[in-house]
Symmetry: C2
Subunit: 769 residues, 2 copies
């Protein structure tokens, strides 16, 4: 008995060890496919720094702090620095704690830290003359960017900078090369992204003791009134400190009593830069833990204590990377090449950056009403780039992050409840609505969650919020839309895009109303969902701007974007946007065949430079023909062949887009990643299906780029995609089975996935017509 028991035990142990080793190997494997550097060049607008999944802190290098204005005029270069970092730059100005991932507008860049030695500079200096300030040259050969870990050598100082983070705490580790008593840490509160003239409303720094600093930064930028609080802890005491105030408009009063510039523990003003001096030995590491809070320095301190009590940089990094592995493992995929593996897992990484956590460890967060609230029973999130992310990112979350997605919906409902406008978020960040882009696509996200059964919240309240939002007459042409069935271009610009998107959102509301048995609402909104027809011009065959008098506007070019009734898309692209009724849209335009040919030409035509120049946010790589993948309105377009009876065209198009639009290089993204929407498109499409119409249960089939993928569902089940025969050439689906049964509809449902199962695509080199 004793012997057998022992033997049994060792078998178990062997099994566990084996599993563990395999798992570790696999973990390592997945992490190595995450390359945060992807998209950091040109238009990707991603950042290379350290963060955990959906983390509040994004601790990342800034390569420049370009002013919004140059000589009193808008400086177009500012746009490159939405995420603070451009791969081709030669210098780093420092490391700041908040960054958007892939946005087409910018803000943040809070609390820039720069370690220096020798003569103290408080200004960043210029890229052409880095010796004139604190910035340092660097080279990519001395740079490492991993999930939750960033390392770079600051050549000017020979300082090795390493960054990692917990959810709410950025962890810096600076290794100084030589013994000196002139080691400085600069805390630049004037630095910031898109930091035009007076973006700072107020900044405040308190030296609590010789290792602890607290404070806040309040800005008036994309977010109209945003405040971020911090607590900064040094691993060793500074020897002295001080600051300079660069603003002229600060009342000084009786503070003149003191030399407030040196060793004076309260610093405040609109434009301040602080410094802290250290005496270091050769090779000594100075570490900084920098916690953020949306509500108070007290909250930041509590976050610091809760999440990062110790000083073990390696442990924080390992814990952070373990969090990433856990998230990446939600899809265990094998693709055709290392590059594709990298694309896939970096897409997973980018998809899991936003929305970001926006509450303290104790649940406190700042609400849209500028009061502090407690999130009861949910994690409060912010950074909702909804015009982008309703399309594929939130549907992706409903599949592999349902708990988080439900919390995101609750965050949106909290936003609604705190909104003076009584509206759900449009584009919101940091307790602010910035009103960027169009539509009211929270409605789509909420509908998608409810329709897919991922709604552990008050669904009737959620529907009420959708309805109130959709009836807000003073919002962006909506009054006209309600009264006339379309937005008249001569009363409100981008009118066609708005009409089409309102109609889709209204369909979403109708679906929820139907599910909840609220017939009146259903009828009101299903009727509104037909409004796309009101901007269809049969004469031209395009959606076209219509005027208040009912006529279509004469001036019209379907290739032009500027001032044509659209936004981030021309009539060519936008005319395809009726995701709720693809078949009806096709019928409206003629027959399936002609529509199919029309769609073909989208991918094959040439968009002249004069029109491309009007297409925002993307590089020339971001388009195929006139198909603009770098912007979102056509993200579903390649899937429309499923409604023309030619799914093989979808299959070849989507594989082409995957190849052309995503590369494992710094310039590998052809347009803004848009808080993960571009990445979510990549993930769905690689898996072989796509949510053409969020708010429905259907996923439309395409052509899997994975050979095999196992989706770990939160309900404990797994859903497997297999693609026997798949290769770069074998992009055509020959046959699809779900759990052994043929799939004839070219679609599967969300429930099919949630049930767990096995989706098999038989792949071949030729279309199966």
């Amino acid at each position: 008995m004793g012997a057998r028991f022992a033997s049994h035990l060792s078998l178990v142990t062997a099994f566990l060890v084996c599993t563990q080793q395999f798992s570790q190997a696999q973990d390592k494997n997945l992490l190595q496919y995450v390359k945060p550097i992807i998209g950091t060049e040109k238009m990707g607008h991603t950042y290379p720094g350290a963060t955990v999944p959906f983390g509040m802190v994004q601790l990342s290098p800034e390569t420049d702090t370009i002013p919004y204005e140059m000589n009193g005029k808008y400086n177009p270069d500012v746009y490159k620095y939405c995420a603070g970092y451009q791969y081709t730059d030669k210098t780093i100005t420092g490391f700041s704690h908040t960054h958007f991932s892939g946005t087409g507008h910018s803000d943040l860049g809070d609390f820039l830290i720069m370690p220096t030695t020798g003569k103290l500079y408080l200004n960043p200096g210029t890229a052409t003359d880095p010796a004139s300030g604190y910035r340092s040259t660097f080279s990519h050969s001395n740079e490492t960017a991993e999930a939750d870990y960033y390392k770079v050598k600051l050549d000017k100082y020979n300082i090795t900078a390493e960054l990692t983070a917990t959810n709410r705490v950025g962890f810096h580790q600076y290794t100084f090369p030589d013994a000196t008593d002139q080691a400085h840490i600069v805390l630049d509160l004037m630095a910031g992204i898109y930091n035009y003239g007076n973006k700072n409303v107020w900044t405040f720094v308190r030296v609590e003791n010789d290792t602890l600093i607290t404070g806040y930064r309040q800005t008036n930028g994309w977010a109209r009134t945003r405040t971020v609080y911090f607590a900064m802890s040094f691993s060793k005491p500074f020897t002295q400190y001080g600051h300079q105030n660069y603003a002229n408009d600060v009342y000084k009063g009786f503070w003149r009593k003191f030399d407030v510039t040196r060793n004076f523990p309260e610093m405040a003003g609109r434009q301040i830069r602080a410094w802290f001096d250290f005496k270091v030995a050769a090779g000594e590491k100075v570490k900084i833990k920098f916690a953020l809070s949306p509500v108070s320095t007290e909250g930041a301190l509590n976050n610091l204590r809760t999440e990062a009590p110790g000083w073990d940089f390696e442990k924080v990094k390992q814990d952070g990377q373990a969090m990433w592995v856990k998230e990446l493992q939600k899809v265990n995929a094998t693709l055709n090449s290392e590059d594709e593996m990298t694309n896939f897992y970096t897409a997973m990484y980018h998809a899991f950056l936003s929305p970001t956590t926006y509450m303290d460890a104790d649940g406190s967060y700042r609400g849209l009403d500028q009061n502090n609230h407690k999130a009861n029973g949910f994690t409060n999130y912010t950074t909702f780039s909804l015009w982008d992310t309703y399309r594929a990112l939130h549907p992706l979350f409903n599949m592999i992050q349902p708990k988080r997605n439900a919390d995101m919906v609750q965050s949106m409902i909290a936003h609604y409840e705190q909104s003076a406008q009584h509206m759900l978020p449009v584009w919101s960040h940091y307790a602010n609505e910035n009103w960027c882009m169009i539509g009211y696509h929270s409605v789509s996200v909420i509908a998608d969650a409810i329709i897919k059964g991922n709604a552990p919240f008050d669904v009737n309240k959620a529907l009420d919020a959708c309805v109130t939002t959709a009836r807000h007459r003073s919002y962006d042409g909506l009054g006209y839309y309600i009264d006339m069935g379309y937005v008249p271009e001569d009363r409100n610009g981008s009118s066609v895009s708005k009409t089409l998107e309102y109609a889709y959102d209204d369909w979403c509301i109708a679906q929820v109303a139907k599910k909840l048995g609220r017939q009146n609402i259903y009828e009101e909104f299903i009727k509104r969902s037909q409004n796309y027809r009101n901007v269809y011009d049969a004469a031209s065959g395009y959606m076209r701007p219509r005027l208040y008098n009912g006529s279509f506007r004469e001036a019209f070019d379907p290739l032009k974007t500027d001032n044509q009734g659209f936004i981030e898309g021309n009539a060519w692209n936008y005319s395809l946007y009726v995701p709720q009724y693809p078949a009806e849209m096709i019928a409206l335009r003629g027959d399936k065949k002609s529509f199919s040919r029309h769609l073909d030409s989208l991918f094959t035509m040439h968009l002249p430079d004069e029109f491309f120049a009007e297409t925002e946010d993307i590089t020339r790589d971001g388009i195929i023909g006139n198909y603009v993948h770098g912007n979102e309105p056509s993200h579903h377009a390649a899937y429309l062949y499923n409604w023309t009876g030619e799914p093989w065209k979808t299959q070849e198009r989507v594989r082409m887009i995957l190849k052309k639009m995503y590369r494992p290089t710094s310039d590998g993204l052809g347009g803004n990643d848009d808080c993960g929407q571009m990445s979510a498109w990549y993930i769905f499409t690689s898996l072989g299906f796509y949510p053409v119409c969020p708010g429905s249960e259907q996923y439309i089939l395409g052509s899997p780029a994975v050979k095999q993928a196992t989706i770990q569902l939160e309900n404990g089940k797994t859903f497997t995609v297999e693609a026997p025969g798949q290769s770069d050439k074998n992009v055509y689906v020959q046959k699809v089975t779900l759990n052994g049964q043929p799939v004839l509809s070219n679609s599967i449902t969300h429930q099919d996935i949630m049930n767990g199962g096995r989706l098999v695509f038989q792949m071949g080199p030729k279309p199966k017509k």
Copy 2:
């Protein structure tokens, strides 16, 4: 039995009715002696508006909003408007919610409300051309100012404005003369006191619904970073609303989507003015309840609901006036004339305005660390003008407001705990230290409370706070003082005043240390308390600026104030300032006789105009000879004759000062009331005794101006002062008895008062030598 019982009952009833009637009559009596208009002209810097005792809201008219700068230069007129109102002005710009009482520097004036009709103006216009803006002419004949009630007719609009307040809620009542749909309420967030260029850091307004507005104002003024939150409720719905933003530097972003200027519920920026339109009938009253909070709009709303749930203006006024009667009754005094009664009870009123409540109804307040805190077991106060108020106001509170005074001490200790400088307050308001004036006189207030046995707080912690404050080497010459025994004038200005005041404060610390048995601290600070000797120049007979090299500065004029080593007092006055050791100070200068003659000349000499011009904060009325009553350093001086064996000189001097320095008129105060210090001097002196050295138990006797006064103590006992024979001519004390026993020491103790009893001054027309 039944009959006898009934008869007994009716006797009781009759007695009760009688008492009540008497009490009501008396209440009415006391209220009518409160004239808030006193001190509103010239240098008094009081305000005439509505407030409850120590209330958070001071709702009062502004007669001008003078800019800090005119044509880029400091505008000296701004100083007149420390309390927002100058009696000689002909126009009112509106009614704002926060005011200092009697300060010599300024801030506040938050949330100016102005009711208007007809064409909407959002700018105040000018005093010379009131038609150019919203301001209105008014006349004093149409003006009533009572405790917690202010009424004025706005002549331009024929609107009657009435104001009252609870602790945290201002209550406006505007009676519109004619039916109109053009009745406006202007909410001017650009208005403010001492409102130089960019004082506003940020302002924010949210329209919650058609009767409720919330928001905040954040300023950078005397308080470096002050935020006041509000909730404003209208008695009827507005018909429309809007705002203008006058700042150019506000990022507008995607808010361009909306017409944010009209009926858009979120307004924000540095320079905004909002308006609300009403349709009113002839004679209709529009009422506004305006609640403040130091922490949040949520806090303001809760204050509104808690303190002012209804719309009965009269009831709020009556409740507020009842609060005043309760406080005024703490001293039931009879003086020689109606004018003196008015002076006395208006002094009581002014003494009970500051410090002000600085916490929400639920105990929440903003701390000096800019975090929100809860006051546990005490009321948190702010507005500590300590250089003034340690002298007589806090001693007065220890006598008749001991509970509040102990809470004030707890507020100071909370300030200390939240202070980045680890210092007790110097001059603090609204979660800010403004560092105005000199010394660390919190120490005196704390010592006075502990020595007098009014210390229901951790006395050892309080002493630690005092010691840490007094050892703060980088504070205002204190390092030199600690090392050298004086502040060298060539290193730190106003050095003599600082040395003298530090030495007094150190004596206070020593007294507490002695009482608590902390011998080391006692020895350290009793030694420091002797430092006054180090600035005494025997050659000139004055306290005199001393240099770093140990010598006295050559340039010296004891009548000059500017740049002479003093502040708000010349060497003549300040040389008398050794309250802790009057006898030793007199001995240092020679014998009692010569000192007495010297003191005589203080009151009889003429201060030439050139020197008077240097004396801040006072009118010519504020001095008697070279005795500057309008400033504080000599407030104890008239009592010093008690140490020269000539108390009759004290008696005649103090009666003269009472007569000359206090009159029941708008220009009746010869200098700033200084948050009640001038008034506290009046009250003590009228009662016949004065705390020459706070931190000791002694009150020094003078000459009572009351005929009789009963002090209601919080311990339930009463202390009565009687002055048989007292008249304007009979100012000389012939004999004093306490509870029938002769008082031979010319002083009584705090314990004598707390025990309850009867202090009788026999008065006569001639000095009792």
